[in-house]
Every structure is written in structure tokens, then in C-alpha cells.
């Protein structure tokens, strides 16, 4: 059932290639816009200097240190821009999530008018849900840290280093699953929100918890397996790029193309989680979507 849902989700999402393209484009455009001041500073500092030839071959620490030191002010602004870019893409993702979910619920080809209308219709509630999610995730992270404090206290007498290291990895894994739970509930809430068009986000969260309660193991496993697939994709990408030489112009171009391909794949997996969740939770079955959408 889980594998079937994942497969179903991936196929459905693959058919919505425009959606993947949309998210990939947003990512690329924001990257280009917000990286420009940083790269401009880099270019200004190095391009007319001989050391730039050295930097073609290797990342030489001294020159980067000098760059960061003597360009501290513009770099500070550039770093601020980078953070702004991340925040912007987070907001865009939240805004567009209603359009994505409604497309999957309709099981229809992407209709840009409907997509836009749905995203607009749920804008306020999706944003509220996003902010609420942020607080819950922070709360869960804090709980994870608090649970970890006794370990730090007893470290000198209880643990030898390597056992402690494995313990730390184990704790990080558990914390990840813990936080994953918060994300899972909120993804289900978004689906419920679009499905029911409920005015109350608390009600949709409650409904999401109920659907999770009905089928907790499978939904959780689905989510976990999807994250493993994502990790495998990243691993493949890292391995592939380690074989590529980026010291030639062709090499750089090739690596850039491969990077975009893998960014697209990651969006594919990320978007397919909604589709797979709709399938495994049964939210989309035998139910009509609220009439006032789209």
C-alpha cells in the first residue's frame, strides 16, 4: 500500500511537469537575483587580480579570508539578501501549496487559471497555517533539546566518546522523526483545508490528526520512505558531481545542467508527497471538493 501510494504519487506528479517546472523556475530565478550582489562583489575583488587564476583550480583559504575581510560590508548586505531569498521562497511555497493540492485532488491537468484562483482563495489560511506550523516545529525542536539536556549533564561520567557519538546520531534521528510528525500533520491539514474549504485552520489540524490516527503507521512510513528517497537522490547527486571536474568551462556547464536536473527531481519528490498522502489517507476518495473552489 505504501509503495503503491508512493508510486502513484510520483507518477501523478510526473504528469504535472508544469508544476515541477514552476517550482524549479522560482528557485532558479530567486537564486540568480539574490546571488547577484554577492557574485558581483566576488568578481570585483578578484577578476583583475592574478590570484583569480589560483582560484580557478582550488579553494584557497587565504584569498577567501581576505575577500571576506575586505568586503565585509557588502558581503553582509549580500548575506542579508540570501536570507531574504530563502524567506521569499518559503512564502511562495506556502502560497502555491493550495493550487498544488487542488490540482492533485482534481486529478486533472494543470489549469493555470484554476491554480491561481485556488492559491488566492486559500492565501490567508495557508499563511496562518504556515506560521502556526513554524511555531509548532520550533516547539518540537525545543522539546527535543530539553530531552537531550540530561545527556549533556551526565556526559563525563556515563559515556565514552564513541558511544556518545552513536547516541547523538540516534538522538538526532529521533528528533528528526519527532519534527517530521509536525510536518506530516500540517501537510495533511493543508490537504484537508483545500478539500473541506474549512474557515477554521484549527478544525483542519484536528481533522488531519484524526486521519493520521486512523492509519498512523502507513502514513508515517510513507513520509519516512519519501524522505529516504530524497536522501538517496542527494547521495547520487553528490557521487556524480564528485566525478566531474569543474575546472573547465564545459565541466562547469555540465555540472550546472546536472544541478538543475537534480533540483527538478527534488521538487518532483517534494510535490509528490501531497499526491501520495491524498492517496494513502483516503482524503480524496468518495468526497466532493467544496463547491466554491476555483
Amino acid at each position: 500500500m505504501i509503495i503503491k501510494s508512493i508510486g502513484w504519487g510520483l507518477i501523478k506528479t510526473f504528469k504535472q511537469g508544469t508544476l515541477i517546472f514552476l517550482f524549479w523556475s522560482v528557485n532558479l530565478i530567486i537564486s540568480l537575483i539574490f546571488l547577484f550582489p554577492y557574485l558581483s562583489a566576488f568578481n570585483h575583488f578578484f577578476s583583475e587580480r592574478i590570484v583569480s587564476r589560483l582560484l580557478e583550480q582550488a579553494n584557497v583559504y587565504t584569498y577567501y579570508t581576505e575577500f571576506f575581510h575586505f568586503f565585509a560590508r557588502p558581503l553582509q548586505i549580500a548575506r542579508g539578501n540570501l536570507l531574504l531569498g530563502r524567506l521569499l521562497i518559503l512564502i511562495i511555497s506556502v502560497i502555491l501549496s493550495a493550487g498544488v493540492i487542488s490540482t492533485f485532488l482534481r486529478d486533472d491537468q494543470l489549469n493555470s487559471k484554476k491554480f491561481g484562483a485556488d492559491s488566492w482563495h486559500f492565501l490567508g489560511r495557508m499563511l496562518r497555517l504556515g506560521i502556526f506550523q513554524l511555531f509548532i516545529v520550533i516547539f518540537f525542536l525545543m522539546v527535543s533539546i530539553v530531552l537531550y539536556l540530561p545527556v549533556i549533564y551526565f556526559l563525563p561520567s556515563l559515556f565514552v566518546e564513541n558511544i556518545y557519538f552513536y547516541f547523538l546520531i540516534g538522538w538526532a534521528g529521533l528528533a528528526y522523526l519527532f519534527v517530521l510528525f509536525a510536518f506530516l500533520v500540517f501537510d495533511l491539514s493543508r490537504i484537508q483545508l483545500v478539500k473541506q474549504d474549512s474557515p477554521s485552520i484549527l478544525k483542519t489540524i484536528w481533522m488531519a490528526v484524526l486521519s493520521l490516527w486512523r492509519n498512523p503507521v502507513q502514513i508515517y512510513l510513507l513520509y519516512f520512505l519519501l524522505s529516504l528517497i530524497w536522501a538517496a537522490v542527494i547521495l547520487v547527486y553528490w557521487t556524480l558531481q564528485s566525478y566531474l571536474s569543474n575546472n573547465s568551462f564545459t565541466g562547469i556547464l555540465l555540472e550546472l545542467v546536472i544541478l538543475q536536473f537534480f533540483v527538478g527531481i527534488q521538487y518532483w519528490i517534494r510535490l509528490s508527497r501531497f499526491s501520495a498522502l491524498i492517496n494513502i489517507s483516503g482524503i480524496g476518495e468518495n468526497q466532493e471538493m467544496a463547491g466554491n473552489i476555483g
Binding site: 530567486i30 557574485l39 568578481n43 577578476s47 587580480r49 580557478e56 579570508t65 530563502r86 555540472e255
Partner: protein, 629 residues
């Protein structure tokens, strides 16, 4: 059979009571200490017999002693109170984690009980809460050349590990644990209080230490273990060290031990069991250091060195030097490509065996002489052992050499303070850079200026002249002047005594084409008028070489004394200028910004494109976030 012979050979030095047939030092302060470690109470009960000789030409009417451990006796001591000023996040220590030395008996020449003559003094800061120095008035002065004996019974409460001494759980590192006499020179006592940034200064001598502790403990110490006597629950270890100026002991029941002979020096590595993966790294580093010094300056004169790898909970014991005894530091799983721990720290602490241990300068008054020279030696050994371009790290394809790290430190605070200062006189955050990184760069720049052969001669003569003595900065500078063909005062004045910064820049590069008529041939010739403008941005004046490369491959080199703030070079050549560079050999490590030392006629965008790809990779992924986040 071979291993049995090897063991016998390794044990040979310990079979005799005398280590050196001929004394290496003046042996001014000689200690015989009987100490018992109470592991539960974290306390040492000891009696010390000190034979001290007045090596000066003056009558001495009082003696001064360091009680370093009293730095941790109360929160208002100079050490702890200043630590909080320098590092505001330093927490107050709970009462049970404090330490201190308590003298219970003080007898001179087996006759005079001077316990009540002991007086705490604060020669540096008048802080009445500080009890790290005491003076004792003598009933009669000590004549030049005369020896006195002092019998001192004391208790030393060990602090929770701090400043590389104390206990952590069942681990003990005993550094600065006994009353230690100051150094009398030039008619006065050099016996400074213990400051957060200051280290130690003492006279050479012999140490015989009988150390009693629970039988299950594994120990290491400054001296050679002569014999061991075991009882039911306790054992006594008999150590002897000659021609050293301090004595440290480490004890922990869980140590693993590895012994190896390197160039006639027995290396004893004591390591935490979970760090067994790092033992090879420790051995490689210490081998590289011993061999390098063997060729560079002089073979290590002592028969043994103990290298201690503390467990993670006692990591504050790491990175410290005592005579014939160093502590490193490692963390389980620390990647082999990053050689800060244990390689760099091991090599650094070993280098201290020369610049502190043998060339025993006053670490409190002239800290650059030990830390700066040690850093200079560290970078030479790291380069030699692990490659020049990435001696410190090549993790994640980022090349960091040892000197890059010094440069980074220097770049952050290049003009905060001068180098030649007492450790307590530095401005806030200035001690580290001016004692470690900047002096290393100063010496490396000096080496590049004078040439390696001349610098090596200086270092060897410095060692030969001052070994087992107390050299000062002026002694080193005088030696440089006597060997160098040039007076180097101009350099040291700027580098050691001022906060001047050094930075050259190629400000502009231009080239204009002109057609002239060759009068002899009557033909038109293309000529190029090139202009290179170089600026000295800092106030540190240093002569540099300038290289201009032309399209036809010709290179024109010129020297500039750097006195004026701007230097203009005009060339009229038959080829177009391609690039200009100040200090093309990258010899001047004190130059703050190397990147601006050059200019090309054509911009090179490739590095930017490459960097753009690297940043794009990180940024596009960071916009995606970790899965679902």
C-alpha cells in the same frame, strides 16, 4: 628475541640514576618531592625539599615563590577575575571546584621555621585577593654562590580542570601543583602573579619525585620512571628529571599506552581508549617533529617525551607543554583530512620543548618568544610533514595551510597592539594574535627576506648560545644583527614595537600604443607605453620586489624600498604589458591583503564563474531546504 632486545635497549636509560653525565644547565633549583594523591578528595599531600643556589652576584635577603594553584582559590584572584573581564562568558566556579596550595611547614636549612614569615605579595596588580606569589624574609642573606635548603610541607587542593591543570572525574593532570621558587636575575626577583594569559618562568634543576597513588592508575610524567613499589591498594612511583624547570604528572586508570623509539628519544603515548584510531596520527606527528628539529636546530637532548591524549571530558587538559611532557587533544571521529587535532597541537607542543623547555625565556614578560617561535616552528614542520598548500586541512576540497590560519588570525586584528609586551599588558583580545600568529608571520617574513640558509643559521646559533638559559628578545635581536649582513632594527622596530600594518596594492595598470619612426631604418615601429601605479596602503615600510610581465613573455623585475606611499613605473616596450605584481614570490606574509598585490590588463572571469557554480549549488539546495523543511 628482537623485541626483547629492543625493550632492554629502551630501558637502558632508566637503569642508571643519573641521566646526564655532564649537566646541561646551571641546576639552580633542585627539588625532591614526596607526594600522595588522594583521588577522592582531589588533594595532594606532599613534602618538598628544595636545594636552591644563589646564582647571582648579589646578597639575597628574601625568597619569592609561585603558588600558581592559588589562582583557583577564590573567584577574586587575579586569574579568575581577569578571565571574566577578558572572556565575559567565564562562569564563576562553585566552591567544590576551586583549588589552592596550603603551606603547612617551611623550614630553612633544617633550622629556621619560617612558616610565619610567609607573606602574600601582589607585585603586578596589588590585588589583595590574589595569593599566587609569596615572599619569605630570610634570617640571614644568601651569599652569591651559596646554597640553601628549604623543607616545605604542603597540601594542594586540585581544581576542576582549568588552564590545563586539575581533575576531571577520575582523570588528573598535575601542572603547577607545588610551591616553585621564582627566578632571581639582575638584582631582582622575577616572580609574577598568575594572569589568565601568562605562563611560566623558572630556573633549571633536577627533580626527584616520589608519587603515591591508587594502584590502578596509569601515569605519565616529566621525568623518567626509575622504579615502582606496589602495596595492596597504593603504589609509589619514583621519577627523576634532570635539567628541566618544571614537573608535571598525569594519572588516569583508563589510559592505553604505546612506546616507540624515535631518533634515540623514547616517545610514550598515553591515550584514551576510544582514541586508539588517533594513536597513529599522534605518532606520525611527533615523529615528524622530532626528526625535523633533529635536522633543523639540534637533536632533542632528553631521553624521553610523554605525549598525553586526554579523554573528551578532560579536553581542557589538552594543548599544553611541560618539560618532556605534552598534552595533545583529539575527538573521536575527527576527520583525518583536518589536522588541527591531534597533528598540529602535538607538533606545536613538541616545538615548545625547544622554545620554552630548553630556551627558557620569560613567558610572562615576553610571551612572543615562546609562543611566536613555537608557531613559526609549527608551520615549518606542518609544511614539511603534510605539504605546503594544505598542511592544516584539505577537508571538503578547501586547502588550508598552517600559515593561512595564522594569516586569518592576524587579519582580524592586525593593529590592535604591539608584539613585544608582557602578557598582562595586552589590550583585550590582543594577546592571541600578537603572541602566536603575528610573531610567526614576522619570523617567516624575516626568513624569506634573509634567505632560509641565513635564518637557519640564526636559529641554530640562538639555540646553541642560549640553550638551558633564559634568553630575552634583546638577545635574539642582537644575534640576528651579528649574523645578518644588514641591520634589521628597522624591521623589528616596526614589527615588534609598533602597530603598523603592511599592505601594498597595485592601484592601476595602463598601456597605450604609439607609433614611432625608427630613424636608422626609416620604418614605423609599434611601441607600448605602460604605466603601473603601486601604493603602500599601510604605514609599515618594507622593501618589495615588483614584477611586470609582457605579452611576449618578458618579465621585468624591480625593487622598491616602499618609503614613498606611491610608486609609479613607466615602461616603453615593443610588447604590451599583461600583468604586474608586487611581491611575486609571496614572501611578505605580513602583507595584509595579497589579493590586491597584482593586476592584469584583461579581467579573468573564470574564477567567478567557478565560484558562481559552487555558490549556486549551495544556494539552490538551501532554497529547497532539507526534505519537507
Amino acid at each position: 628475541m628482537r623485541s626483547i632486545i629492543l625493550i632492554i635497549l629502551l630501558q637502558l636509560p632508566v637503569l642508571s640514576q643519573i641521566i646526564f653525565q655532564k649537566p646541561l644547565s646551571e641546576r639552580v633549583a633542585n627539588y625532591h618531592i614526596k607526594a600522595t594523591l588522594d583521588c577522592q578528595a582531589k588533594m595532594i599531600k606532599a613534602s618538598e625539599k628544595l636545594i636552591w643556589r644563589n646564582s647571582s652576584q648579589q646578597l639575597i635577603r628574601e625568597l619569592q615563590f609561585h603558588l600558581y594553584m592559588n589562582a583557583f582559590r577564590n573567584d577574586s584572584s587575579t586569574f579568575l577575575s581577569q578571565s571574566r573581564k577578558l572572556y565575559p562568558d567565564t562562569p564563576s566556579r562553585p566552591r567544590q571546584e576551586l583549588g589552592g596550595v596550603y603551606i603547612q611547614r617551611f623550614v630553612l636549612n633544617s633550622t629556621y621555621d619560617l612558616l610565619h614569615s610567609i607573606e602574600y605579595i601582589q607585585p603586578n596588580d596589588s590585588n589583595q585577593h590574589d595569593s599566587t606569589v609569596v615572599k619569605v624574609k630570610l634570617p640571614q642573606p644568601v651569599q652569591p654562590g651559596e646554597e640553601v635548603s628549604l623543607e616545605i610541607d604542603f597540601r594542594c587542593k586540585l581544581p576542576k580542570i582549568i588552564a590545563r591543570t586539575g581533575y576531571s572525574d577520575d582523570f588528573f593532570l598535575l601542572g603547577q601543583w607545588f610551591p616553585k621558587i621564582g627566578v632571581y636575575q639582575e638584582g631582582k626577583w622575577y616572580c609574577h602573579q598568575f594572569f589568565p594569559n601568562s605562563e611560566f618562568f623558572a630556573d633549571f634543576g633536577n627533580y626527584e619525585v616520589e608519587f603515591t597513588l591508587p594502584i590502578q592508575y596509569i601515569t605519565g610524567a616529566t621525568g623518567i620512571l626509575l622504579r615502582e613499589e606496589s602495596g595492596d591498594s597504593l603504589k609509589t612511583l619514583f621519577y627523576r628529571a634532570e635539567d628541566v624547570h618544571d614537573f608535571a604528572v598525569v594519572a588516569w586508570p583508563k589510559f592505553k599506552q604505546e612506546i616507540r623509539d624515535i631518533k634515540g628519544t623514547r616517545v610514550i603515548l598515553l591515550y584514551a581508549p576510544e582514541h586508539s584510531v588517533h594513536s597513529k596520527r599522534y605518532m606520525t606527528a611527533i615523529t615528524a617533529a622530532i626528526k625535523y628539529f633533529n635536522n633543523w636546530i639540534s637533536p632533542f637532548p632528553y631521553p624521553q617525551i610523554t605525549v598525553v591524549d586526554p579523554p573528551i571530558h578532560a579536553l581542557r587538559a589538552g594543548g599544553m607543554e611541560y618539560p618532556c611532557f605534552i598534552t595533545g587533544g583529539a575527538i573521536w571521529g575527527f576527520p583525518a583530512e583536518f589536522r588541527l587535532f591531534p597533528e598540529e597541537v602535538t607538533i606545536h607542543e613538541f616545538a615548545h620543548q625547544y622554545f620554552y623547555g630548553i630556551l627558557a625565556s620569560n613567558e610572562a614578560e615576553e610571551p612572543w618568544l615562546d609562543e611566536g617561535f613555537t608557531c613559526y616552528a609549527t608551520l615549518k614542520i606542518m609544511n614539511h610533514a603534510y605539504g605546503k598548500s594544505a598542511s592544516l586541512s584539505e577537508l571538503f576540497n578547501i586547502q588550508i595551510s598552517q600559515i593561512d590560519e595564522y594569516k586569518r588570525s592576524y587579519l582580524k586584528r592586525p593593529d590592535l597592539d604591539s608584539v613585544w609586551k608582557a602578557s598582562w599588558d595586552f589590550r583585550r583580545r590582543a594577546y592571541g594574535v600578537n603572541t602566536y600568529a603575528k610573531p610567526a608571520l614576522i619570523l617567516h617574513t624575516l626568513e624569506n627576506f634573509l634567505g632560509q640558509a641565513q635564518m637557519d643559521t640564526i636559529m641554530r646559533r640562538y639555540y646553541e648560545k642560549w640553550k638551558f638559559r633564559h634568553p630575552r628578545t634583546a638577545d635574539f635581536l642582537a644575534l640576528v644583527d651579528s649574523i645578518s649582513v644588514r641591520d634589521m632594527g628597522w624591521y623589528f622596530d616596526q614589527a615588534l614595537l609598533s602597530t603598523k600594518v603592511l599592505d601594498y596594492e597595485v592601484d592601476s595598470l595602463s598601456c597605450e600604443e604609439a607609433v614611432t619612426l625608427d630613424s636608422s631604418q626609416g620604418e614605423a615601429i609599434n611601441e607600448y607605453h605602460s604605466r603601473v601605479v603601486i601604493k603602500r596602503l599601510g604605514d609599515f615600510i618594507f622593501p618589495v620586489e615588483i614584477a611586470c610581465i609582457f605579452d611576449n613573455g618578458d618579465t621585468l623585475r624591480q625593487n622598491w624600498d616602499g618609503v614613498d606611499s606611491v610608486y609609479v613605473l613607466d615602461y616603453c616596450t615593443t610588447s604590451r604589458i599583461r600583468e604586474a605584481q608586487v611581491d611575486p614570490g609571496q614572501k611578505v606574509w605580513l602583507d595584509l591583503n595579497w589579493s590586491n598585490n597584482s593586476m592584469m590588463m584583461k579581467k579573468n572571469y573564470f574564477a567567478t564563474i567557478r565560484h558562481w557554480l559552487q555558490v549556486m549549488k549551495i544556494y539552490q539546495q538551501s532554497l529547497l531546504g532539507v526534505f519537507l523543511f
